[in-house]
Symmetry: C2
Subunit: 347 residues, 2 copies
């Protein structure tokens, strides 16, 4: 297919970013990557080239550096949409350094939007999160569920950005913005060449499990085995990152219709428990995942899964890859890259 211009992908060297870049390239779009490499490396984009055969212009630029951003927009006059993945994402760290998180996520997005306005670019797809819903008041969560009940600065920063984008669209009909609320992205590209590469101790379940499987961690700690769920452990809506990436390509088509501000959940609609995930990963990897139970963590909830029928109806998108595929692909990535993109390893 032909596209009407390039897509600028902020945070394009990160986990969801790289997978989306691959899907965009495979769909025929021209892509430019901007990433401050705070939480990623250019190695990931070399891998994207191995997968797609395409070279992607990539700039090591921070969202807070408006001058450097202007240089990119000046150099690439055909950018027609920004896919905005860049942002800090560690919940615990956000509680320790709230101002740093707000500055980077909210302040960074404001700078990006200001530069986009200067260059007359009014199309954005924003990487939001189901965390904006806070504790679910009903399940599955649809897009009409109340938002704003976030308890940590990371989640609030996503919510604040959503509100800023919504207000921009209300103020000026030139803006088209799609807010994609992710549930729990897992898995990796089927090639095993790109995947999630957390720095330090993983914050999320599946990277932790896969690091146990590959011998980087001793055992999994399961926080809470007294939840009101079938096996008493927490239930989440895990979605294959390639499905998620394809959701962005589907959203891009919607955006070109001049949609104003739209919101879509990207999830599978199905919840799996911590123990189900660990078992599925054991099966896919052939490795045993030792675990112990510990107390619930403050702020954690029993169950969270989404209703993604609106995305099916309006974007023609649906998650296709099942739990075993999520685990197989994650294991392929982890076993081919036991220390992630960094060949030296880290812990």
């Amino acid at each position: 297919m032909t596209s009407s211009g390039s897509i600028l992908v902020t945070g394009g060297a990160g986990y969801v970013g790289t997978h989306t870049v691959v899907e965009l390239l495979d769909s025929g779009y021209d892509v430019i990557v901007m990433d401050n490499l705070a939480n990623a490396s250019m190695e990931s984009l070399k891998r994207v080239k191995e997968i797609t055969g395409k070279d992607v212009p990539a700039f090591s630029v921070d969202l807070l550096d408006k001058g450097a951003m202007r240089n990119i927009f000046n150099k690439h006059k055909d950018i027609f949409c920004v896919m905005h993945f860049a942002g800090l994402k560690a919940v615990g760290e956000s509680c320790e350094k709230p101002l740093y998180y707000y500055r980077n996520n909210v302040g960074g997005t404001m700078s990006l939007l200001e530069v986009m306005q200067e260059f007359g670019i009014y199309n954005m797809i924003f990487s939001s999160s189901a965390t904006v819903y806070g504790a679910p008041s009903y399940l599955p969560i649809d897009e009409k569920h109340p938002v704003g009940g976030c308890t940590n600065p990371y989640g609030k920063s996503k919510y604040f950005i959503e509100e800023i984008l919504r207000d921009l669209c209300n103020a000026d009909s030139k803006w088209n913005v799609i807010l994609l609320r992710y549930f729990n992205p897992v898995g990796a590209h089927a090639s095993g060449k790109i995947g999630e590469d957390p720095q330090g101790v993983p914050n999320n379940l599946m990277p932790y499990i896969s690091q146990v499987a590959v011998g980087r961690r001793n055992e999994l700690t399961v926080y809470g085995n007294d939840y009101d769920t079938p096996d008493k452990t927490g239930v989440r809506d895990y979605i294959h990152v390639v499905d998620l990436a394809q959701g962005h390509v589907a959203a891009l088509k919607k955006l070109t219709e001049g949609c104003g501000c739209k919101v879509y959940n990207l999830g599978t609609g199905t919840g799996y428990s911590v123990l189900e995930m660990a078992k599925a990963f054991e099966k896919a990897s052939g490795k045993s995942i030792p675990f112990k139970f510990a107390d619930r963590r403050p702020g954690d909830i029993a169950s969270c899964y989404g209703d993604a029928t609106l995305a099916a109806k309006e974007l023609g998108w649906k998650a296709k890859l099942d739990l075993s595929k999520m685990c197989e692909d994650l294991w392929r990535w982890q076993s081919m890259n036991p220390t992630g993109f960094n060949k030296e390893g880290s812990s």
Copy 2:
């Protein structure tokens, strides 16, 4: 009384800012003013000197200019608290220019907080608003009322800043922050030398009424005469700006106790309708205020008034000045300064 250092007042040349500067000076505090003069003039601080006999160091500096802010903190090493009034405040304009509002109010506050951290200053009193409560779910509104239901970028910017400040206090016990949620400030200093000086058409009821009285506007438009209130017009909690200013001095004492993050309503607890306000102003001024009814404005609510008993209990503060005093003082200011601080006049 003696104070342990200076108070930096951002937005100190504005309406609530100048009145607070007067009360601080009268209470023996050293004050430094910082204001970008976007919505104010240095004339107001000349008037402060006429009232108090004291010269206040004043800097024309924008919150977005961190270098200039650092210069102030470098020059005044004894600043121990920032009273943060600076911010854009026109609801309608905020809907038209949301990014500009978020940049100035939220981005500006982040810059201020960053500079404060650099200089090891962790005490702030923040000029918040009852608008953070959104549409009241019960009356009178106390501090436990849910927040975040704001429908315009101005109100959301106040709410976002509150959340950032709360998270800062949670992250680092060095921070002490008092969020003061104002109801509807009206009136002026009893001297008639300082008062509210809106640019262009006033957004608020009382400045509009007083401009009608002084002949700058033809008649008052009363939006909505079908509300569920005694006389069918909207009811609000008007508070004399001098009472409000004294609330800040009371909060300052609380702050020095190492209070963490505290929230107080500053209001009278009593609601008055639009027609009651107009009548009270007619009585105080001896002028007739012609008015016409028009449709409700979108987003307006029937009644809003606050419970200020927490401030009475914990700050030892209570609004003392009644409706007739609000109107008399407003009229003295308006009649002595028919075109505000600007002798040339404006409309």
